[in-house]
């Protein structure tokens, strides 16, 4: 019996993980289907767009600014080892739009938005507001989940685009003021080596990350346990799962988009 215990424990963990994966997948599919089917709650969507998009701009912008600057310094220092300092503008631009802009922007939005969605919906659940919605003939998936998921899926690519621009600008500032690059040459090298798909792939990543962030926030909020501890746990799980899924999705998308 004792020999089988580790196997039973492992099996329990695997089954539990598969069950969670199944529940999350069903939830995500339901969320997506509710986005496409009426009724549509425009006011809730616009409110979510403001909360997720507009109010995330400062944190995404600051993250991108400092990341772009640090990236320029690192590439300059690394490039100096084999006399390739001139690649700074192009590598900063490509690095920002392909990887760092979407991933860091996504992680910052995950921290800010997934937690806020999970806490809000979780609190609504424990105070019976979700039950109240149902008794008022309103589907919580349509009223609470669909507007947030749609708003995040649309807003995060825009945030990524803004973050990319600010990040490249951060690299430019450091390049011109600290590393003595010629301003016109820096800009020319940035533009010349950047391709449309570099930017496009980052925006697609942003949309996937936005969807993931909102789904995880809503999923954990809707499954929140009772009391402050339940809401706190839902919030933590939303941020952790959204962050891990962003990093995993980023690898998969990079493989799909750029593997030779």
């Amino acid at each position: 019996m004792s020999l089988l215990s580790p196997l039973a424990a492992t099996g329990h963990v695997v089954l539990s993980a598969l069950a969670t994966l199944g529940r999350v997948t069903i939830f995500a599919v339901q969320a997506a289907s509710h986005i496409l089917r009426p009724p549509f709650y425009t006011r809730e969507f616009l409110n979510a767009l403001m909360q997720i998009g507009w109010f995330s701009l400062p944190v995404v912008g600051l993250t991108a600014l400092f990341t772009g600057g640090a990236l320029a310094l690192q590439i300059y220092a690394g490039g100096a080892r084999f006399n390739a300092e001139s690649v700074v503008p192009s590598i900063v631009a490509i690095g920002m739009v392909r990887e760092l802009g979407p991933v860091l922007g996504g992680l910052m939005v995950a921290a800010r938005v997934a937690s806020s969605i999970a806490a809000e919906i979780g609190t609504m659940k424990v105070t019976e507001q979700i039950d109240a919605l149902v008794t008022l003939s309103t589907d919580p998936m349509k009223y609470l989940v669909a507007p947030r998921v749609l708003a995040a899926t649309l807003a995060v690519p825009v945030l990524v685009a803004v973050g990319d621009s600010i990040g490249i600008w951060g690299g430019y500032l450091v390049g011109v003021t600290r590393l003595d690059f010629n301003a016109a040459t820096y800009l020319k090298n940035t533009v010349d080596f950047l391709e449309v798909w570099d930017v496009g792939s980052g925006l697609v990543k942003g949309a996937v990350f936005g969807f993931t962030i909102a789904v995880m926030g809503c999923y954990h909020g809707m499954r929140s346990g009772r009391g402050a501890q339940g809401v706190g746990r839902a919030t933590k799980l939303a941020v952790v799962s959204a962050s891990v899924l962003i990093l995993a999705a980023n690898y998969v998308l990079t493989e799909v988009f750029f593997s030779a």
């Binding site: 009724p39 709650y41 609190t123 609504m124 105070t127 019976e128 507001q129 039950d131 109240a132 149902v134 008794t135 008022l136 003939s137 309103t138």
Partner: protein
């Protein structure tokens, strides 16, 4: 008429409802009493479809609604939740007129607001309250707003979940009186769950005692005090000794 037959519900190994049979006549006010944790709220949520019963049937005016689509069914209901369950992000009048601003009952915004203010007045709140947010209200005011929301769409059936919990005795009396008046003037069927005996005496036409997952006794309020049922007697007199274990 609401007719419950053999309703059962378990959460894991905990069998909360073990076969509840109960009839609530049209236009009557049924109060379900029972100790904390005896399944009163679960029974109410089973009727509303918020919790799926494991067995049994729920009939509304003769139609089996146990697994029927809920939207049409819920359109006939109003519900006052224990904690009010008001939407924090919406002003009071939006809460009251929630059903009137969307779905089948949709009205123009100005008309919906007018109805909301009228319902707030009906529960003793001034029109100025309409533009406040729930967090700005006292517990008693939140209950009144919850009551106004429950009656806003003129429902045929109203459920009250512990309507006086957390209120001082005077405010509890006010809420009890309001519920009785509103149910009478609307001619609605009402179902209240409570363990507050002052609520029972103020609101009930009929009383049902839920214990151990079944209805132990049911009858008119006038017969409650005289019934020899030991469960009812222990409960209404608040005795520690009797068939109901004090420690559950």
């Amino acid at each position: 008429m609401i007719d419950l037959q053999g309703i059962e519900k378990a959460f894991g190994s905990n069998r909360v409802l073990r076969g509840v049979d109960l009839e609530i006549g049209t236009g009557t006010s049924m109060v379900i009493i029972g100790g904390s944790g005896t399944g009163k709220s679960v029974l109410l949520k089973c009727i509303l479809g918020l919790v799926a019963p494991d067995a049994g049937t729920i009939r509304l005016d003769g139609h089996d609604v146990t697994r029927a689509p809920r939207e049409e069914f819920l359109a006939r209901f109003g519900m006052l939740f224990q904690g009010g369950a008001l939407f924090d992000s919406l002003p009071v009048w939006h809460n009251v007129a929630f059903r009137l601003l969307r779905g089948a009952h949709r009205r123009p915004k100005a008309e919906a607001r007018e109805i909301a203010v009228d319902k707030l007045r009906r529960v003793g709140l001034k029109p100025e309250v309409a533009d406040l947010y729930p967090a700005e209200l006292s517990g008693g005011m939140q209950k009144r707003v919850g009551l106004a929301r429950a009656i806003a769409a003129e429902p045929e059936i109203i459920f009250f979940d512990e309507p006086t919990t957390g209120l001082d005795p005077i405010m509890a009396g006010v809420i009890n009186e309001l519920i009785r008046e509103i149910v009478t003037e609307m001619g609605a069927t009402a179902m209240t769950i409570t363990h507050d005996m002052s609520s029972v005496r103020a609101i009930a036409d009929h009383v049902a005692m839920l214990h151990d997952g079944v209805i132990q006794w049911t009858g008119p309020i006038a017969e409650m005090d005289a019934t020899p049922d030991p469960y009812v007697q222990q409960f209404i007199h608040g005795r520690a000794e009797g068939p109901i274990e004090a420690v559950r």
